[in-house]
Subunit: 357 residues, 5 copies
Amino acid sequence: MLRKNRTIKKRSRKAGLPPGTLVHIGEKKAETVRITYIDYDEQNLQEKQITNIEECFQFKAMPTVTWINIDGLHDVELIEQLGRQFELHPLILEDILNTGQRPKFEDFEKYIFVVLKMLSYNVANQAVEIEQVSLVLGANFVISIQERVGDVFQQVRDRIRGAKGRIRKMGADYLGYALIDAIVDNYFTILEKLGQEIESVEEEVVAEPTENTLQQIHSLKREMISLRKSVWPLRELISGLQRSESDLIKESTDIYLKDVYDHTIQIIDTIESFRDMVSGMLDIYLSSLSNKMNAVMKVLTIIATLFIPLTFVAGIYGMNFKYMPELEWRWGYAAALLVMLVVAAIMLIYFRRKKWL
Amino acid sequence: MLRKNRTIKKRSRKAGLPPGTLVHIGEKKAETVRITYIDYDEQNLQEKQITNIEECFQFKAMPTVTWINIDGLHDVELIEQLGRQFELHPLILEDILNTGQRPKFEDFEKYIFVVLKMLSYNVANQAVEIEQVSLVLGANFVISIQERVGDVFQQVRDRIRGAKGRIRKMGADYLGYALIDAIVDNYFTILEKLGQEIESVEEEVVAEPTENTLQQIHSLKREMISLRKSVWPLRELISGLQRSESDLIKESTDIYLKDVYDHTIQIIDTIESFRDMVSGMLDIYLSSLSNKMNAVMKVLTIIATLFIPLTFVAGIYGMNFKYMPELEWRWGYAAALLVMLVVAAIMLIYFRRKKWL
Amino acid sequence: MLRKNRTIKKRSRKAGLPPGTLVHIGEKKAETVRITYIDYDEQNLQEKQITNIEECFQFKAMPTVTWINIDGLHDVELIEQLGRQFELHPLILEDILNTGQRPKFEDFEKYIFVVLKMLSYNVANQAVEIEQVSLVLGANFVISIQERVGDVFQQVRDRIRGAKGRIRKMGADYLGYALIDAIVDNYFTILEKLGQEIESVEEEVVAEPTENTLQQIHSLKREMISLRKSVWPLRELISGLQRSESDLIKESTDIYLKDVYDHTIQIIDTIESFRDMVSGMLDIYLSSLSNKMNAVMKVLTIIATLFIPLTFVAGIYGMNFKYMPELEWRWGYAAALLVMLVVAAIMLIYFRRKKWL
Amino acid sequence: MLRKNRTIKKRSRKAGLPPGTLVHIGEKKAETVRITYIDYDEQNLQEKQITNIEECFQFKAMPTVTWINIDGLHDVELIEQLGRQFELHPLILEDILNTGQRPKFEDFEKYIFVVLKMLSYNVANQAVEIEQVSLVLGANFVISIQERVGDVFQQVRDRIRGAKGRIRKMGADYLGYALIDAIVDNYFTILEKLGQEIESVEEEVVAEPTENTLQQIHSLKREMISLRKSVWPLRELISGLQRSESDLIKESTDIYLKDVYDHTIQIIDTIESFRDMVSGMLDIYLSSLSNKMNAVMKVLTIIATLFIPLTFVAGIYGMNFKYMPELEWRWGYAAALLVMLVVAAIMLIYFRRKKWL
Amino acid sequence: MLRKNRTIKKRSRKAGLPPGTLVHIGEKKAETVRITYIDYDEQNLQEKQITNIEECFQFKAMPTVTWINIDGLHDVELIEQLGRQFELHPLILEDILNTGQRPKFEDFEKYIFVVLKMLSYNVANQAVEIEQVSLVLGANFVISIQERVGDVFQQVRDRIRGAKGRIRKMGADYLGYALIDAIVDNYFTILEKLGQEIESVEEEVVAEPTENTLQQIHSLKREMISLRKSVWPLRELISGLQRSESDLIKESTDIYLKDVYDHTIQIIDTIESFRDMVSGMLDIYLSSLSNKMNAVMKVLTIIATLFIPLTFVAGIYGMNFKYMPELEWRWGYAAALLVMLVVAAIMLIYFRRKKWL
């Protein structure tokens, strides 16, 4: 929540500038920008971390698949250089730098531009963190730009290095798919965490709701809202990629995109179920409070209604009238106690009948 | 609920692996895998339980209809063997093994792949259990893969064995329809159970709601959420099958699919009505609580307001002032009691007027 | 509610049987099956109650319009005979016998099959009753099958007998329309009843809500749910009939179908308004309860807060300390009473200021 | 509300009659039927109130534009005469007489039939009243049929009489548009009234909600429901007129219809905003009640919890035990009072800490 | 809210006038009308504030791009003059003057008409203010008409003056885009303000909700409703501009419109999230109230239930019966105190067990 508003704040700073003006909008999440590339075909593999982006421009002309990964967005000049080299539209560069993007894809004949949200669970402050990943998918290259070091692509790298599966035999479009698939698959991990949280809060709600429970339900609700905002547009995005008639996506990759699409639907379904559960939890929380209050009220009622009449009887015989015959009786005291007992007994029976006890 | 999250947990283990990697995701519900086949045409019938999947590969080339049923998912190698023999796409095999699928169908020219959820009511823990059934429908074979032994296909088997109805005269597509129909028909049994539960909870809510009632309403709500997730996609699935232009589904089978479609709509309608009823029950539950509290409050109010003024009068004549003329009067005590009686009577009349009694 | 679940229960008994198996599903509402027919053209009219269905098969070959009406569903053999004679698809016969159908229409070139819900208001238990009516509309015949004797077709019969309006001049499609129109028109009668009920409950809610009011609101809500289930599919059904390109429906009948369609929309609109009103009533009911409790609370507060301090003062002078100078004063008693009066007056003024009185 | 149900009641009387039977359904709002006509072209104008409908049939053959206005629906014969003369379909006549129509338009080659709801604000009982207006738009005539005398067409008449704007230069379709526009424009007046009402109720809710406020919110809600029912179908109606390919509507009129359409959307938007506001008001009303109750509770709690312990102390020293050393002490009384003071002070400080004071 | 109703009020004054009648509807927000123009091409720039609108009519014939800006709507004659010169349809002029318009665009071959809402945050009364901006986009001119001096176009002007970006090289359609973009970009600033407000109210709700908090939530809700009304139609508007086949919008501008469209979706998404959050806040507010009341209730219950029985015991030994053996006992007083202590202790332990302490 804090983050989002901050994004909007930064976004608003740019209001009125000419379109295509490159300004990094969002938190600066990395100190230095890290550039790595992997260049491969079925036989060969070349991998390097470089400091000068120009080092990897050589691969543009080669038939091999090149994956350029950039971690960190604050070096605007680097992004500009990249844009010039790969002939990216200025608005694309703007979108890359502005981390408040909605997941979307755009088809510019020569390349496809995809923006996604990569989720990670920050154990320290127990919250889901959202990072923007931009992908530029060309005929023989994929450029991925992330906000900071650390991602969910490790297994993709391992598969390329180890030549596992079909990845080394396929083109850049398959690599693009593999990266999207890795991001989407990671959502399951996040959903699992959320599912555990929901379960534990649910148990708390049913067993022993405290004021803190309300806060937790509220924070779950907010997480769901922000998760939804990241995942819903994915559906459209991936079905758009499937339907797109771009030459960049080969027909053989379509079935893999269909698979990612199915996963996205599954994730959306699960989020919707979670939302239903969370709002159900609020109802239960409120009912539990009412129930508790009810219980407290009952005890008050019973004790008060039991003793108020008895105290009244005691009050009567505490009066100082001169002529109160009962006070002189030998068994007056005992009789008074007896009257009290009988009154108390009648009331107890009445309460039990009413099922208040 | 527990189950679902566990599925997600397992699902997340696979995140990042190359697509088509065969890993069984879900609970291991069976100890050993059981394979059976039935091969039939209008005249002949052959049925056997086998331990080696290869035994039934012979039927692939024959014109008879072959139904291969596999109970248990954990023998990954068997599934791979099956996939190789029937040329199933690796992603299909992955979907079969991953029990967190959403009901769907996919049309690969040579075969149609259908994933469904089979429901069963577990009497022991009074909960609806969900089991994934995958169907592969080819030109002359149907492969059904379940999570464990025990299903709703018994009557279909009996009809094949006894040559009842038209099943022996029809092709593999009719067998496929018969299996889907059996699963959908079984939903009515589950709905009946749920309907009874809803009715009994409803009676409880109206008559004597306890804190336990709230739990039951909540668990009904959750069952509805999970049921909905299984049934809603069915609508799309079956209308997709109807509209599909696959050669595997003959025109004569269309009317039967239309029938299943109608049943699905009926089931969805009923679930939606149930949902309405359950959320209505929560309102009534909360109102009942309020009503009860109201009743308790009234009794408290009446007793307290009756006796508090009377006790005050008694308190006055319990004071020890030297000069209190009333205390000396001959009929002071009687007068005090009379005053109390009159006050009490006035209040009772007032309460009755206000309809609090 | 009870009824519906019972239908589902019976429905579930059939699960797994081959499609087209004829079993009557639903309550047996009639003792004996009653068959009547009316055969007419512009000049002639023949009408008879028969016991053997075969008696009316003769008319099939004649150019006159024949209306065969069957009251009662439990004679499965009769339905089979009918099916054989008029070449009805087994699934249609199944739908006729299964009273849990959703309103729908199906176009089999030679005839059109329509399922509808006929409503009637049972005065005895003040509830809306739902009866399934199946219509089979052929080139020169209409077969109507009801669950029991007693329907809303009386005026249609009178119009045929009296040759009122254009009915005798038109074909079977117009007769079909007239029957559907009679059923839909009857919904207005039911809505009127419901409207009256809603109004009377509304008055009660505003004036003097009791616990019973809640039950009534709840039962209205349930009636609305079941009514909606019967009426909503009608819209689709009738617009489907309009759009259908069947030769059985002449162009001249289209405008009449449009009229029925308008009525259906009007009914749906009214039901939706009623739903809004009923859910509004629940809000008001709950607010009224709160308001009442509030009023009760106020009285308690005022009496308690008035007398508790006064009683405390009395309690002080009821203490038995030896040295309490006030007790010896000549006007001590009067002063104590005065103090109490002043305290009470101050509090009353405070309460009035706060608008609690 | 009352009115609507009455309409349904009357409607249900007709159930089962042959379609096209002319019966006036609705309240009889006028004593005598009033017929007026205006016949005009760019140069000439003729205007007259007539008693015999036949007087205006002469204009049918002339090229001038004729506007026939009928106030009052109960003279069924007159409507029949009109229908015969202008060749109106019996179902149209039926719709004119039945005031429970939903706004709609129907295109019969020779004329277009439009039903609308004209709203007026009845100052006497502070409610929005709904009147049905039917328009029949032919090549050179417009017939408008209202339920009673008094309408929103005065300015249209003035424009025709004074030859203001382009109305005298245009055809019958422009006149039809002008009438529809006058009705739609009038909705803004009604919305203004409703807006004022909402504002005043809103102020009341925030400042000093009473039980009456709840009634007002409820009645606003009901007005909104009925307004919505009148306005929503308008959208469809007008966009239908725009898209209709009837020769009766000239292309030059299209832009004016687009303008009315925009107004309709604006009205619908405003109604939806009002609905949101009204339902928000209910929430605030309920919260205000809770807040008030809370305030009352607090006072009770504070006074009760202050005095109950003090009264207990007084009660102890009111006991008549023979051996109670404190009673004999010289400063016992003063000490007891001091103890009470201290206890009261501690509690007051505690309450202030808890922010209950 | 106030403003809107006033607009409707003014709008209703016009009801019935002929369409195209020019009356300024809305608040008069400026004293004098201010007219400025900027005329430019790649080399030259001319800019001037004029008092007579005719001064800028000369540019109409030139190939340069002319931007005419008018601040203030009440000079109806000026608008008419403009309309005559640029051949604008009377309904367009009417829309310009009527500030209650819904955002929309209309395509008249020769020019495109766009109505938008420009938001500004009034710091003085902490509310979002809405101003209508009309744009007329011709082949080589853009006319912008605002309600008053002061807008969000300053940076666009600076870019034209300083020849920054591509604006001086592009045509009138790019200028039109730039103005729309400036308005949409400004929404982010407003959303940021709202986000901050929501956050601060949210903190208040969780920490220390007061009655004022409820007012704030309510006013946020209303702001959201009015914001939504301004922004939702934008989506349609801009996608309409994109899809329009008007020659006035060059293909090269399409990608910029797509960018604005993305921003609009982002703004709508954010508003929806805000709405979710605000309605969540109301739930939390109400829960907090319940929780507080609960806490107050508990204290009352505990103190009351502790002392009521003790006071009763004291009352018993305050009775004046002659024969009460306990009163004579040497340790009677001590025993009574002990009994009280034990009773109090038992109750305290019970309360702690029940977790009420």
